[in-house]
Amino acid sequence: MALSGGMLATYLVSKGDAFWTYSGGLAGVIAASAGNDLYHPLQAFLIGAIVPVIAYKLHYYAERRFKLDSAVGAVAVHGYAGFLGVVIAGFMLWGYPSSPTEGYAPITPWGNFIGAVIMFGGLGLLPGYVAAKILDRLGLLRIPREVELAGLDLSLELQREVDATEIRKDVAEQIAAAPAAHA
């Protein structure tokens, strides 16, 4: 239900963009997953429809405002939708016992919000940032500027084309040289 809600909603907001339609479905599943063991199917459907739209809008907002490029939308799908899913579960499941063991704190919005910050900030953003900094220092994070500007796929295509041309040239030279060798 969350998958269908996400796909239907992002299909509309992205004006039928196939990439965002499927990513929205995934974002819907991720958004509802925090409480999917307890949600009613229609609650999962509605949460799965609403959150991917917010994630979609946040993706383009972050791109415009902070110049942060998330080429495959992974930050939106897993990050924004996941974070919001945990926060929404805090409201939807407010008061539910968090564990079958007596004495555990019940689910609360602020508890889930803190949990979301710890997970996505402390366990996601921070280690990712540190790892990226290390890779950057070692010169492993970025490709050469010229290749980046040409586009990595295009650059590979050009290289294949150059290789193919050189092979054809070699073959042509061998054919041209062949009669002389026989003579």
Partner: protein, 71 residues
């Protein structure tokens, strides 16, 4: 108030687990309205797209060239 106050006991005694028990009809109505609205919107968008495409093909000899290429 949460539907479930404690996980002790057997699951069949607990009853519905989802939050907001009693709002099922409301949720069905909301989902039904969204489902209908989505299809109406989609039909409108699709009709507009086809109309734009048809208008482009009617202009000049685009359609003629397209059909000739197929032949």
């Amino acid at each position: 108030m949460a539907t479930v106050q404690s996980w002790s006991g057997t699951i069949t005694d607990i009853g519905p687990l989802y939050p907001f028990v009693g709002s099922e009809l409301f949720m069905v109505v909301v989902a039904g309205v969204l489902w209908l609205a989505w299809h109406l919107f989609q039909l409108k968008v699709e009709a507009n797209e086809y109309e734009e495409e048809a208008a482009r093909l009617r202009d000049g000899d685009t359609l003629k060239r397209a059909t000739e290429r197929e032949g």
